[in-house]
């Protein structure tokens, strides 16, 4: 009589699972009024082979007189670890569903992933070790991943890189698998021709703080040697340049600046230059000639300012002979223009510095990038692609340039070993403050209506061309966590475009059901209305020198939550004028958002005011232009950077 009224119940003993030859075996129990016949157990969506046994031991909590069946199921084919096990009643009702991680324990999570690069005992060209792969711990994304390479400080890996291949390998199993990629780049400086064998391991942590460590692997790094023939050719070419330079005669104008930049296309570094030249060519009355290897929309804007623009085409850094010839031609051009000083923009445009030095002109070099030379060379020219002789010239340029100008003290400190302290100067970015002042006259609600944002929401804003280093994927995951306790929060990411990374972001928003509380906005020329609409600005980039977007947010009196990287800590004091979190750490980012959201609007307002007051001394770009003009005039008149120091 009792059996007729018994429910169907089932349980999966996930902790007792095991894997043999890729096949998962897992046990459990079933309370079945009609016996086990007709019940189905699936592992990873596939019907498993099941051995049933009438339960002799009582299942804890189940009355002893209930008909309990113990079962042991084994997958018919190999299944990925983390596959879901389901128990279904004969009528199709799902009785239990559990992910199975046979190796997981309360101390160490079960890993699922691969270190794709480097392979064990790999031979690597160059002096930079890129460690990349994908990893899930207990089927979820790790909170942080660190790469430990012998002879280098342990380094946090960039997280949540798109891995569509993993998604397709684990169909329907793990929602976060598509963002399970990670990558760390570790510089191991060595001389040309040298090689070095190193051990490395990967450490990762779950969101509840459990650690997993990979087995140790070994790899050998080898830098290509200098070609003696190339070295002789380069020497002859340099001598020829010197001879030709002796024939170039031009009257030198100390107010004439020759600017050498990397590109005239739309981008952060270019906007900075355009803003600077507006001041130099305008109020400070410098004559400006600009040389760029790449043309772009900025050209018209600069010509309107009275700047003479000369586009040369790209030069090769992979080949020392052609590089030296390019530098020679640029040196002759520099001399012939009659410029009294050269201003070079970006770390990669060292050919401009080299040319200025060959022409005997004083040179100031603006370095925005907080990358090691090894890392920068890999990102721009590929693995060990930079000719060792060119690399030598690059280092020579850093040590001999008359002035190295940085946007943050942290970046200055990074490059200090190459140069001398007096030559290394920090000049922080300035921005045009007028739009921020004007925007404050517009009501936030009106702007939100225009932008299609919820009027009453707490809007978190991130602005930046979407790419892995901007940390948009971790931001989405962190936001997903906090929105449960802060349901009125709305996240806006401005800067998406057509790319695999943005595609992965869109997929995640859809899969996680975040569509109603997340807006992914394509790149806009003017992000200022979004700043006006925001309650909090979030900068999740894992590498930044001094983000202009943070300065703009501060100018708009929007409090900032930012990753603690390079110059960010110079403008944000944690808890005082914003909130800082450890970069490349999902837990830290989540907590950063929580701390900001837990702060009352009145306190947030006070924090924003303190932030604006803290950067007031350099925020206006007019001061920035003045500072550059002083430095350039000092160099042109042979007083070096003394005028500025005075």
């Amino acid at each position: 009589m009792i059996e007729r009224e018994l429910p169907w119940l089932a349980g999966v003993d996930a902790a007792g699972a095991s894997v043999t030859g890729g096949r998962i075996s897992v046990g459990g129990w079933l309370v079945s009024p009609a016996g086990p016949d007709g019940s189905t157990i699936r592992i990873g969506g596939q019907v498993a082979r099941v051995h049933w046994e009438r339960g002799t031991a009582a299942v804890p909590g189940v009355p002893a007189d209930w008909p309990v069946w113990a079962w042991r199921a084994e997958a018919e084919a190999a299944q990925p670890v983390g596959a879901e096990t389901t128990v279904t009643a004969p009528d199709g009702t799902e009785l239990a569903r559990t992910s199975v991680w046979p190796e997981s324990s309360h101390r160490e999570p079960a890993p699922l992933g691969e270190i794709d690069f480097p392979a064990a005992d790999a031979e690597i060209a160059g002096d930079l070790m890129v460690v990349s792969g994908w990893l899930l711990l207990d089927g979820k994304l790790p909170s942080r991943v660190e790469v430990d390479v012998e002879g280098a400080p342990r380094q946090r890996a960039r997280l949540m890189l798109p891995r569509p291949d993993v998604t397709s390998a684990l169909p329907g199993q793990v929602r976060q698998a598509g963002l399970s990629g990670y990558e760390a780049r570790v510089a191991l400086p060595q001389a040309p021709g040298e090689s070095r064998k190193v051990a490395f391991r990967v450490h990762a942590w779950t969101r509840d703080g459990r650690e997993w460590t990979s087995p140790t692997r070994y790899a050998t790094l080898r830098r290509r040697p200098v070609s003696r023939r190339d070295a002789e050719t380069v020497q002859r070419s340099a001598a020829f340049t010197e001879e030709l330079l002796g024939r170039v005669k031009a009257a030198v104008d100390t107010d004439h600046v020759l600017v050498v930049t990397h590109s005239l296309r739309v981008g952060g570094g270019q906007f900075w230059l355009s803003e600077l030249l507006r001041h130099l060519a305008g109020p400070h009355e410098h004559k400006v000639t600009l040389v760029s290897p790449e043309d772009g929309p900025l050209r018209a804007e600069l010509e309107e300012l009275g700047v003479t623009v000369h586009v040369t085409g790209h030069h090769r850094v992979q080949d020392a002979v052609t590089y030296t010839a390019y530098v020679g031609e640029l040196a002759m051009l520099a001399t012939a223009t009659g410029a009294g000083v050269v201003l070079v923009n970006t770390l990669g445009m060292f050919a401009g510095v080299d040319a200025a030095m060959r022409a005997g002109l004083p040179v100031a070099w603006v370095i925005h990038e907080s990358f090691s030379l090894e890392d920068f060379a890999y990102l721009n020219w590929g693995m060990d692609a930079l000719d060792p002789l060119v690399r030598e010239r690059w280092e020579h340029c850093l040590s001999d340039a008359d002035a190295l100008l940085f946007v943050a003290d942290a970046t200055r400190e990074m490059f200090l070993p190459w140069s001398r302290p007096r030559r290394c100067i920090t000049v922080r970015y300035g921005i045009d403050l007028a739009p921020a002042k004007q925007a404050l006259y517009t009501a936030k609600e009106d702007v939100r209506r225009e932008l299609g944002l919820p009027e009453r929401a707490t809007v978190l804003l991130n602005v930046g061309v979407s790419e892995p280093r901007k940390g948009h994927a971790p931001l989405l995951l962190a936001f997903e966590q906090v929105r449960t306790t802060h349901p009125d929060a709305h996240l806006v990411i401005v800067g998406t475009h057509e790319s695999p990374y943005c595609e992965a972001l869109r997929d995640y928003v859809e899969a996680a059901g975040l569509g109603g509380s997340v807006s992914l906005v394509p790149i806009v020329r003017d992000p200022l209305p979004w700043l006006r609409a925001a309650d909090l600005f979030v900068n999740s980039s894992d590498i930044e020198s001094l983000p202009r977007s943070i300065l703009e947010a501060m100018a708009f009196r929007v409090p900032v939550v930012a990753a603690d990287v390079f110059g960010t800590r110079e403008i944000v004091t944690d808890g005082e004028s914003g909130w800082l979190f450890v970069p490349n750490d999902l837990n830290a980012l989540t907590v950063g958002l929580l701390r900001a959201l837990d702060t009352s609007p009145a306190d947030r307002e006070r924090i924003a005011e303190r932030a604006l007051a803290g950067i007031g001394s350099f925020l206006d770009s007019a001061h920035y232009g003045q500072e550059f003009s002083t430095i350039l005039k000092g160099l042109a008149r042979g007083t070096g950077t003394e005028e500025r120091h005075a």
């Binding site: 309360h106 089927g139 779950t206 509840d208 703080g209 306790t485 979190f581 837990n587 830290a588 907590v591």
Partner: protein, 180 residues
């Protein structure tokens, strides 16, 4: 008039000098003395020249001494500055190391704080009934949870059996069991 004085030889006047013949031996001695005097004069000139040279050398040596003393003082200053600079550099390096250690400590503290806050968030999420970031349970904990779950289900089942709908649909279940 004496017979020895010829008639054509004029007699010397009282105011005219009388020439005497200098004996050869005296002339020779005189010549020698003159020669010696020339040699002595030359020697004197040479010695005077050397004296002047020595004097100039002495003055130069004094100048060099002064310059060297000055350079030594400058070198001392420079050495002191270099020492100070080295000390400052060492101090700066030590401060940087301290700062880096402090940053590492700060990072560890932040990580601990973040973990605690995440635990709190998990608790908050549990209160909201949302999906938790899953934590792997120890066997005992899992068993305990399982016991609780079954007990809850049992209670729920008992409560459900008392509902009107359960009792009303009892015949339907009977039919269903018979058709299985």
């Amino acid at each position: 008039m004496s017979s020895e004085e010829g008639p054509n030889t004029p007699a010397p006047r009282d105011d005219e000098p009388v020439e005497y013949a200098v004996p050869a031996s005296v002339r020779a001695e005189l010549l020698q003395l003159r020669a010696e005097r020339s040699v002595l004069m030359a020697e004197r000139e040479r010695l005077l020249g050397r004296l002047r040279g020595a004097d100039a050398d002495l003055r130069e040596a004094l100048r060099v001494q002064e310059r060297l003393a000055e350079e030594a003082r400058a070198a001392d200053d420079l050495r002191r500055q270099v020492d100070e600079s080295s000390e400052a550099r060492v101090e700066l390096d030590a401060l940087r190391r301290d700062r880096d250690l402090a940053r590492q400590e700060l990072e560890r503290t932040r990580t601990e704080r973040d973990q605690l806050r995440m635990d709190l968030l998990q608790a908050e999420l549990a209160l909201h009934g949302a999906d938790l970031p899953e934590a792997v349970q120890h066997d005992e904990r899992e068993a305990e949870q399982l016991r609780r779950r079954v007990a809850e289900l049992t209670q729920e089942l008992e409560a459900h059996r008392q509902t009107l709908s359960w009792r009303v649909t009892a015949p339907l279940r009977t039919v269903r069991r018979k058709t299985l």
